[in-house]
């Protein structure tokens, strides 16, 4: 598979790259970043997928996530995709929480979104195939995490593909798109009004419907402005408790929804993943 090297820079003994490729899933060019830590030649390393939140590209976590030091120490490859297809020919919406930058990791079924907004296929199939072919990755050791909309993405993808991931975590995830304004808007727009179809994109519904993931780590800032209306960690907590899905939910006093919160707890998450990926 072909991709173009946009940037490759030394960092913490390894290499931070940004790459662009033509996606058949989205029908657009897609950009992602990948950090490869220092390693012995010929070795393959576990991979952490990081899915970003609303309005973000690969760049936000790449610049502000403070993941490289721990990835370098632990020996983890860290891949950060974009949050949607982009471009002049891709449908968009003026709102920050729908359209470009807000793909919600779904395969849209509604016009005009269904042609390009196929982030589920992109993240679940196309990008992993490219990464497996082009980077020194041990695809038997995959972990996934993400922030907010990307936390929702990480949880739902892990729950739908438990065999793929040995570890899963999230920073301030949208716990249940079925039960918050961001989710109502995005899922009705991309998938139509039949809420039954939304369930495979809702972590709580997936758990209710019998899906299971490895023990989930969630950090949630208690000064997060989206906590009560959009994120609702109590719904995830209740769904996990009812179904027996293991969950470690940590409520962090004073922390907000920003990358200052994410970077503070990034190392904890990477160590959580490393324990399971190298275990």
């Amino acid at each position: 598979m072909d991709f173009e090297i946009t940037a490759q820079v030394a960092a913490f003994g390894g290499e931070q790259g940004v790459y662009k490729h033509r996606s058949s899933a989205t029908g657009t060019d897609m950009v992602f970043s990948a950090y490869v830590p220092p390693r012995e030649s010929g070795t393959k390393l576990p991979i952490i997928w990081y899915l970003s939140g609303l309005t973000c590209t690969h760049a936000n976590v790449t610049e502000k996530g403070e993941f490289r030091r721990a990835c370098s120490e632990l020996g983890l490859i860290f891949v950060a995709p974009d949050t949607s297809p982009r471009g002049d020919r891709v449908p968009d919406d003026d709102a920050y929480d729908f359209g470009q930058g807000a793909g919600f990791y779904v395969d849209a079924t509604e016009a005009p979104w269904s042609e390009h907004f196929r982030m589920r296929s992109y993240i679940e199939e196309e990008l992993p195939a490219l990464i497996a072919e082009s980077f020194p990755v041990d695809m038997k050791s995959q972990g996934i995490t993400g922030h907010s909309m990307g936390g929702h993405g990480a949880l739902t993808i892990a729950l739908r593909s438990p065999a793929r991931f040995k570890s899963v975590s999230a920073f301030a995830p949208i716990s249940s798109p079925l039960n918050c304004p961001w989710g109502h808007k995005a899922l009705s727009g991309y998938l139509g009004p039949d809420r039954q179809k939304w369930r495979e994109y809702d972590a709580c519904a997936l758990i209710e419907d019998g899906r299971r993931a490895p023990r989930i780590l969630v950090d949630q800032g208690m000064a997060d402005g989206f906590l009560a209306e959009q994120l609702k960690p109590e719904l995830l907590e209740e769904a996990c408790k009812s179904a027996g899905q293991p969950l470690t939910l940590r409520r962090q006093d004073g922390y907000d929804h920003s990358y200052y919160f994410i970077s503070t707890f990034m190392e904890d998450h990477l160590r959580w993943h490393a324990e399971r990926l190298f275990g």
Copy 2:
């Protein structure tokens, strides 16, 4: 002294703030960031001053510098000022390396720059007085560092005020503005053509003229695109060797001029400072 809180966010157990105040030195509003790590109530902590490079504001290092983890562990306050006065009424230049964003930490003497471009007075006098009054800082324990133009600033300020600083370091500093295009342009523009007047803004000249600082730590990436024409660490090395100024210069293979380089070695620098500030 009055200042306005632009942002205060929890990070690594402490608080990352951004502040705005009216500067009498520059005659403009000035913005700076300050990280205060977790501490016992009533204690005062050492302070690290970080001076940024061309085009930067306080925000670049605040978002990308990855200093908070080590500052939190070591107990260091980290203050990052802007690189120049800014605003519609402040003179500017279309170039990235002169005018707003490129104050070079001098007190300009040439029109039209001399009215507002007084970054030496701002960094050496006004901002320290504000910080001493408003933050839990032990002003007897100050260290200074910076990047590129800000590395030049850190070195020259430390050499001119050895009693103020117990520790000094720089990331890819401009070693000698007297001997590089960035320096020629900036110092002739701000100070006029008399090169004798430039010497107090040139680390190598200050060392030749008998000024001394504590042992200087410098990291320089060997894949830095500005290395040969602008930065010239060999000039600093020669000046220090000739004069007996202690210098630890580390040439880092493969690293460029970006915050990926800075963040990689930030922890080393903070530990270097902490050893001297707590010693």
